[in-house]
Symmetry: D2
């Protein structure tokens, strides 16, 4: 067996919309035919994935009748059962239909806001029926090109109202479901409200039920703005708010690329896997590893499965490199904690006496400043591990 | 009198380090001689500024003796009194000296952390002595080039410890002082922890005394990452956390430019002034308008005062344009609230009955989707107001 | 009459694909119905435009029969004649059909390259039939996501072969037609070959008939990469290579926004109009001012014409502001040429004697370095003119 | 012996200013003492470098007397001879002294232009005396923050005059010296003229002696703007204009980072080394591999040599990975040329007959469009080679 073949413990998932992407873009038409959800389930299972995620309309078309919905869902459940895949996450498509052209929860039009709420309640019901434990909110159209159209504070207040409403809906239904909010700085809107995982984390702290709500950071979305994805995810983990994660690849300062995981910026991908796998200390992230990416537009269906296998293999390869790096004695020596029996207690919690002792402390500032920290050596070791030469 | 001359009600401030900037950059030497703090006070007052801000070492050199400090502070206070300027904000220089080369509060070295705490306590004392009501924290060196050197969660925990410590220090001293945290995504570090105002707002919610701590967003810092500064400031205002603001200009995706306020992206500057002045609804921000910028390196001292006057004039010009825009009847018609007596109550707070009624609601989705929102017209009106042609 | 109404002398043009844009984007469906070309011609004429441009398939669908083509072209010509619009520019759609998914002229597949050449010859014939004097080449799919697929030098060589072939085709047909090459750094490909106007200008210098070929710079495309559009256009003008120009608006580091001209970064739009209008010295650019932009997705058809009128009005408003700025005596004083009767001849063309005299020259370097250049004042005057306060 | 130890055949070079960098930045003071040039020579030789490059003032201080210059140069030559290092490249510092605060060759002040020419003639003499065969021009201050100060066309014309002058100087002196022009988009100026390698290549084509002048592309400079460095270098190589190269690492959209080669974006570094080494076809670049980078500010002198060794090791490691990738039979199969005996001649050079035959060509466009290109598989193979798992 190949050591990089995926296992259920990896909790690798794909979305119906990711491997099912037909390759339409702003400048060109579809290059691949649409795949039936049951076919996606079959092939994802064959590739070794653990689960499959979906927007409501990935499975049930917009405007389908109740009878159509029942038939479609039954077929999909049968395919899941046959191939042993689960649906750990679901979400609502609040961006494709023109009704959402100026946003959903934050729209100026009360009818649109009402429609968005209702569509989300239905989407939650669908997700729960399929077994989802996490419900993602990506407010792709919640933004603007002209800020003259709406006070951004109004947008935030409306979004808060919607999420509070939906949290209560979940509580009233006694669903076992958490929410995960996904930030993006821009595209398809000029600016999207709550543009980064940091803004989302703060917004969550202002909700009526913050304990039900975490984040779903996406590599591409933070990277578009040139922010450190690793730092953003770490802040979410430290706050106990990493409820889901979207893995892909992206170059800074570009359109949303959603490339195969690990195909750009291997260094950041390595640092991310190391953080999620907990090899450098800290607990392992135990949620799904969702690949929110799609195959190049040059590919036919076979290329789609090349792509899917590549995402999972690279994750596992990076996990092995991370374990090797963190086990390297030279790395351990260079990163050993600098404990100080006298100072550490002084720094942990103010008292007037500690302040006095800190002020009285004597040490040679210039000498301390001259010490080299050997970070060039440490970083070079990381690169050599990544390249497989240590 | 010129209608754009500054008034005390504008609360315009500059830093000693801004108008005192000597023009050194990574590729070249100083182009202007250093100015004595008392000269800066005199000339800022002549330009119409209301206050002057400072880092500890802008006034008192690193390592100065207590006697030197006393003499310098006394002279500075005399200049302030003579020219009628106040010191509304102070901060600590935790980045220039090599001791801080790998951070201050988040350094791996307990001695450096101790030194940073102590220096900040001293800086707080100095600020309070000069009358400051806001104390800013910019963690310019709290970051990394190689994330192998430190778990970002450790960095956050150390920074939290430091701020909790210092909050208690202020409380114990009974100082009338709030903290304002300033984010920046990168430079001078490869990545700085807590890179945006959003990340800072969340971090504040995890402190022991969040009520004492707000943010100090800076135009250049959010703009470097291409984020909407207006949205970030609005989120802070909505949360009651806009304690201070740093005004300047910057192009996206570049080194930290700290240009004259309004000299780049007039549209965003207009939207910002409109938000701060409350002309479009919402309360006016009543804190200082601090210009954290410096004159081009092509300037001598006279150019520095051109620069300072320009910052203030442009702010006032934009405020007038904002008032005109928001008073324009066509603008008011295009932005009138769409209240809906039936729907608005349904959207405000979940009940099972409201959910049922939302689900029963009938309306023509396609017709609603087809409506044009006239945002092109609205935005064009904004541009024509900005250009002075309405 | 409104002083900002467009005139034929402005040579304002739009593309069928710009005002005809139906608002589809990667995340959502069309929001507006397609407009018939004849309707576009009628409404553009009513708005005051001078010309309309097109891709072959904007008018004649991909795969149309010869008879269909004849009928469509005849109808279109009739509409042009009726409403007094011309077609100054035409181009080929080498990006929408999946056959071009890996490029056209640079594709690895000789059949695709052959098909692209043939389609372009047909497009040229169509353009010439409609009266076009400029034929634009935008290689939107000439790029890659994985550079392992093709040596970039091979891509350049193939593109050169295609352009040399097509230049000869035009010469053989004795068409009165110039080519204008349009660069873009990325989107819809990860990287596009010849990413900026600078790269294009050099590439042109390597063609067999460089005299037939110039550039078509687009605001959005250079701005995506954060480059100075004004500098790029100026370099093209200095080389006599500005054959066409695409005007719109864009924020740095984002997806291709194609916003209404002047709606972002008014400062750069002002500098651009000033350069094109020749108000700051240098000849006026006398080619078409083409608006390659589209209305926000929030708009219906009425909003599309708001958008079109806005593009033209803002251009004219900026032209007026540019004239005022350049006529301002204070501006003229600050920008007066520093002629030096002794030095200027020394600097113009090497001789050993001049080198000797330059070396013998005495002047006070430190004193010269200390002079302030008053650029802050100059720039502030520009902002005040822009805002309409001078 | 370690297989990644540098060899003379690698032609690895560093600048005095790179390993000699003292770590000053816009926010902080020097962290390392300056190193004597002779010490740098000794240590670089010990690390395995082949050559050392310099700005005039890296060796001879600004304003030094002729006698000082002679003594310093003699000592330096002795050190070179003792340690077996050569000086393949030299350049002029036209940016540190305040006299150049508004540019050198493009300054509005004829005295500054004269001084810059003279300083460059002296720098050329120095470089030639030390054996340099390449003279680099980086116009770091040739730019602006306010384009109102100077027409960019004037800046280009002045720069052309200066380079034409200096080419003639070199010809008259019969120096065996080529020029290499280095582009940068911004920093330390808001915008720098001729911002990319593409713009430089075109500019060279407008000089009086283009055959003497090529480019010196720098990884960090093109990457700041998010452009493909590999494509830019390939364009220069195809034109026979890659005269020198500056290797380092940089993240997109940031200040000039000048990081250790290979420490960011390993994928692009791999593709670059593969291009330079000629493993994928095309000739090997035979000029120096110059590392224009510096150690993190966290390092003391020992860290500087860690840094220098890391640059060279990573280059050699990537070269090995490139050879392995290009020798992989699966890669070769996926990238095999698609020759077409019928079509290839048709595409190579226009004749009316070829045009006719192209038009008569029949093939199934839809079928051709459906073919998958297997680029996901190809790219995944590249990543697995990079990670050392193939």
């Amino acid at each position: 067996m190949d050591p990089f073949d995926p296992t259920p413990d990896d909790r690798f998932t794909f979305g119906l919309w990711t491997v099912g992407n037909v390759g339409r873009d702003p400048f060109g038409d579809a290059v691949r035919p649409a795949l039936a959800p049951s076919r996606i389930v079959e092939r994802l299972a064959a590739c070794g994935a653990w689960g499959v995620n979906l927007h409501d309309n990935d499975l049930v078309p917009f405007g389908a009748s109740a009878a159509q919905r029942e038939r479609i869902v039954a077929e999909f459940k049968a395919a899941l059962a046959e191939h042993g895949l689960c649906v750990p996450m679901a979400t609502t498509n609040l961006f494709s239909h023109p009704i959402f052209k100026d946003g959903a929860f934050s729209s100026n039009d009360p009818k649109v806001r009402a429609f968005a709420l209702r569509k989300t309640m239905d989407g939650i019901d669908l997700g729960v029926e399929l077994g989802a434990k996490t419900y993602v909110f990506w407010g792709g159209r919640e933004g603007s090109e002209t800020d003259a159209c709406r006070d951004p504070r109004t947008a935030l207040a409306r979004t808060r109202d919607a999420l509070d409403f939906l949290c209560e809906y979940v509580r009233e239904r006694k669903y076992d479901l958490k929410f995960a909010l996904e930030a993006k700085p821009n595209e398809p809107r000029g600016d999207i409200y709550l543009p980064t995982t940091g803004h989302m984390l703060h917004f969550i702290s202002t909700l009526a039920h913050p304990e039900m709500v975490g984040v779903n950071p996406e590599v591409a979305h933070e990277t578009m703005a040139g922010l450190s994805f690793v730092h953003g995810v770490a802040q979410a983990m430290e706050a106990g708010k990493l409820f889901h994660i979207d893995l892909n690849a992206q170059r800074i300062g570009r359109y949303d690329q959603d490339l195969r995981f690990g195909s750009e910026d291997l260094r950041q991908a390595f640092l991310l896997v190391r953080l999620l796998e907990g090899t450098a200390g800290g607990a392992r992230y135990d949620g799904p590893r969702h690949f929110d990416a799609h195959a190049y537009r040059t590919e036919d269906e076979e290329g789609v499965w090349d792509f899917a296998r590549g995402c999972m293999r690279t994750y596992r390869m990076l996990a092995q490199r991370a374990r090797q790096f963190d086990a390297d004695p030279e790395v351990r020596a260079l990163t050993a904690a600098q404990d100080d029996g006298e100072l550490d207690p002084l720094l942990a919690g103010f008292t007037p006496e500690k302040a006095r002792r800190l002020r009285a402390l004597e040490f040679d500032v210039e000498a301390r400043a001259r010490r080299g920290l050997r970070y060039e050596r440490l970083d070079q070791l990381m690169i050599e591990h990544l390249l497989g030469f240590r």
